[in-house]
Homo-oligomer: 225 residues x 2
Amino acid sequence: MIRHIDAELQGLKDLALQMGDSVEKALDQACKSVLAQNKEKCSVEVREHESRINDLQMLIDESCVNVLAKQAPVAKDLRLVIAITKINTDLERMGDQSVNIVRNACDLYSAWPQATLPSQLTEMIDAVRLMVRSALDAFSRRDVELSNKVLAQDDQVDDLRDALFSEMKEKMKAGSDQVEIGLAFIMIGKNLERMADHATNIAEEVIYLATGNDVRHGHNVSVNS
Amino acid sequence: MIRHIDAELQGLKDLALQMGDSVEKALDQACKSVLAQNKEKCSVEVREHESRINDLQMLIDESCVNVLAKQAPVAKDLRLVIAITKINTDLERMGDQSVNIVRNACDLYSAWPQATLPSQLTEMIDAVRLMVRSALDAFSRRDVELSNKVLAQDDQVDDLRDALFSEMKEKMKAGSDQVEIGLAFIMIGKNLERMADHATNIAEEVIYLATGNDVRHGHNVSVNS
């Protein structure tokens, strides 16, 4: 039997995945601005995606409240609505981080067009894109195995960030003309690290959704389904 | 007539305020580690508060789901539960930032005990503490006026961060021995800026709670109460 609430829950999930799609597009353009110095075009496109992300955030929050008020969901249905409320917040922040990346890249390359991209940042970009893609796929399919992979990838991103910071500090110490450049790459690294943290939050929500286990803070609390 | 749900909602609110109290204590100790170089003691205390914050986060999330499942709240009651779910996430992140501040301060002063605290960072600490205090007071009393003050204070914190960054960059350019110190103060500034962002999120939630207006992204969407 198809319940009326199923259509509403599917509608919420579709909205969250639409928002996820916009986040991926914003991140892609932001990374392009870092990798290819494609400044103006990327900046405009990221801001367009971010505007759509912000609109979707408000629509999803309103829709979640409506489903809760009208359908009074329980058990797994309720967990889905709560998870979407939280994933919604993470996705919106990922939009903000995409804007921060493109802003930092534009400032950097406008002043120093010849700045050389550190290899750790290229690796971070690949890793974070994969994490975001995987977290959204995991949400779409309630895939616990893929969610666990996202959690493991976060450690790799943290290692890359540490390696980036070390190399940039050495460059900054070697010459005062490298201070602004090194700092800009460090800031872009921080932005990417935060994108990865949000992808991790989404993966944790998917595990909660699929299993009822709260894996945050290393805990493993089961709830009734 | 006192409704059964009122006691449950008050219980949720009390838990959130307890968590807010732990966040303030963690922030106080973190700031002390920056201002007074009181490293070891502060570090232990911040971690104790953060552990309590993490436990409360999981308890509050579980309690919110229980209230939604058992009481099926609507209108203002539902808005309160959703607001607490979101404020809960912000408070947990504020605990993380307190740990980051104390970690950055310990690393800095262990290597460079004579590092001179920039005046902008002292001002940021005062401003962010006030914002956190005000956001929690505003939540406790559903105070829209105070929430709006928090939103305005966030701009001041951003200005102080910009001034801090400028001064640190100049110092780092002036001597390679200032690179690590300047970068550590910049990172502490970033941590404080994020604390302020979370306080701003809480203030926005309070406005939504009290008025039904969603003031995020400069919008002003009314919902039915």
